[in-house]
């Protein structure tokens, strides 16, 4: 009888230990998942804050230029200010809404491209608009706008550092190209897409976040360096859009 008693107590204690170890492992897994979600949330908030800051800087630059503007240029300036303010409002709304929308409908991106161009034109750098073919996106409009805004703001900033620098934007064959001059093309390797790396003195989050957001809206981003010019190429991802691309 004693051996049965001891064996039973041993078996029960082993059962309790097994359950406890399972509970600890489950707690650790849930904690790791929560930590990862919090980290992602923190990154998302910082990225949105970065884009919001860029948009507000545009608004400030536009209002500063307003002191020297001619009466004929006032309507265009006010239009640009309004669009910049709406862009900032969308970004703040995204903070409140959390994750980007899961809308999978295909939408035309031309309006967003024009909006982005108007926003950066008020900075004073010349922006040329070439052919504007068809260009599409899926998902949330604010995510597409953030991608384009980041590319255009970077282009305008770099072009502003070069005497007579211009930015050129065109859409051909379902591909958006943003071309601008750069002072030091040697710094433009793939590290520009890594977070925390920036040669321009900014936080270094823009292109890294833009690549992630681009994937959400059905785009891919790469760049091509030609001499003292860089061209950021935004292409539609085939898997995000229907096969009949007429």
């Amino acid at each position: 009888m004693w051996e049965v008693l001891i064996f039973t107590v041993f078996a029960l204690l082993l059962g309790v230990l097994t359950w406890w170890m399972w509970q600890q492992r489950d707690l650790a897994r849930r904690q790791a998942k929560t930590d990862a979600e919090l980290t992602a949330l923190g990154k998302g908030v910082r990225a949105l804050a970065h884009d919001l800051h860029q948009t507000l800087e545009l608004i400030i630059a536009t209002t500063e230029r307003a002191r020297h503007i001619t009466p004929g240029g006032i309507p265009e300036m006010l239009d640009g200010l309004e669009k910049a303010a709406r862009s900032a409002a969308s970004l703040v709304q995204t903070l409140g809404n959390g994750a980007p929308g899961e809308d999978s409908a295909v939408k035309c991106a031309k309006g967003i491209v024009y909006l982005g161009i108007i926003l950066v034109r008020s900075s004073g750098v010349s922006v040329e608009v070439g052919e504007m073919g068809s260009f599409r996106y899926v998902g949330a409009e604010v995510d597409a706008l953030r991608v384009l805004q980041n590319l255009l703001v970077n282009a305008v900033r770099e072009a502003g550092r070069v005497d007579g620098g211009k930015v050129r934007v065109e859409v051909r064959d379902r591909t958006l190209r943003v071309t601008n001059p750069v002072r030091d093309p040697g710094l433009l390797d793939d590290r520009i897409y890594a977070q925390g790396v920036s040669h321009a003195g900014s936080a270094g989050m823009g292109l890294a976040t833009s690549r992630q957001l681009a994937a959400l809206v059905g785009w891919s981003i790469r760049h091509e360096v030609r001499g003292h010019e860089v061209c950021f190429v935004v292409e539609e991802l085939p898997e995000a859009f229907p096969a009949d691309r007429s």
Binding site: M1, L5, T8, A11, G15, V16, W19, W22
Partner: protein, 213 residues
């Protein structure tokens, strides 16, 4: 009645009451509470059925024979309902497979020509072993693979039951059924005591728990 049997008959109602107290604030616990309540009811039912069957003239016929089959069903329900609980709590599966297997096994025992004497004894042992192995397979699968399952009191109780069942199933091989029966009751007392303690600790540690949606 022998002391171990009295202890088992006393511990089951205590465990059932505690389990339903937990189920008030944890609706997911109600299936385990129902199983414990059923086990308690089976114990009391068999206290009434066994004397009638044992006192009846052989060969059994009529009411004693029907009561014998009912007794067989009650014994089989220990293993198959336990397997159903493990399927529900560890694998998130419907318990109907276990219940169906239990019904099929009971149907075999209804045929007195096939299922009698030693054959019947082997049927019960195989059913018990098979359910125990399947239950442990569910437990191990739930612990290692199921991501959506959060270890709780019901899982602990089922693991305690399963651990005790391993010992109970080994006893007939070591001591034979007749000699081993009191030892099985001893194991049952220890398992039930552990389950009562687990429920008591859980209830004491969470005095006011909001009802789950």
């Amino acid at each position: 009645m022998e002391p171990l049997r009295i202890a088992v008959c006393a511990l089951y109602p205590i465990l059932a009451i505690l389990a339903w107290c937990v189920a008030r604030s944890r609706p997911a616990h109600r299936w385990l509470a129902a199983y414990v309540t059923w086990m308690m009811a089976v114990d009391w039912l068999r206290l009434g059925i066994r004397p009638i069957v044992e006192a009846a003239l052989r060969p059994l016929a009529g009411v004693p024979l029907a009561l014998l089959h009912v007794d067989d069903l009650l014994v089989l329900s220990w293993s198959f309902l336990f397997l159903a609980c493990c399927l529900h709590y560890f694998a998130g599966r419907s318990p109907w497979a276990a219940l169906g297997a239990g019904a099929a096994t009971w149907a075999i025992t209804l045929n007195s020509r096939i299922a009698s004497g030693e054959v019947l004894s082997w049927i019960f042992q195989l059913a018990s072993l098979g359910c125990l192995m399947a239950s442990w397979a569910c437990i191990v699968w739930g612990m290692l693979r199921a991501r959506k399952i959060e270890p709780g009191l019901a899982h602990l109780v089922l693991i305690l039951y399963a651990s005790g069942d391993v010992v109970i199933n080994l006893i007939p091989f070591a001591h034979g059924f007749q000699i081993g029966w009191p030892l099985m009751r001893l194991v049952s007392v220890l398992v039930l005591s552990g389950c009562v303690a687990a429920h008591a600790i859980w209830l004491r540690g969470r005095p006011s728990v909001a009802l789950e949606a």
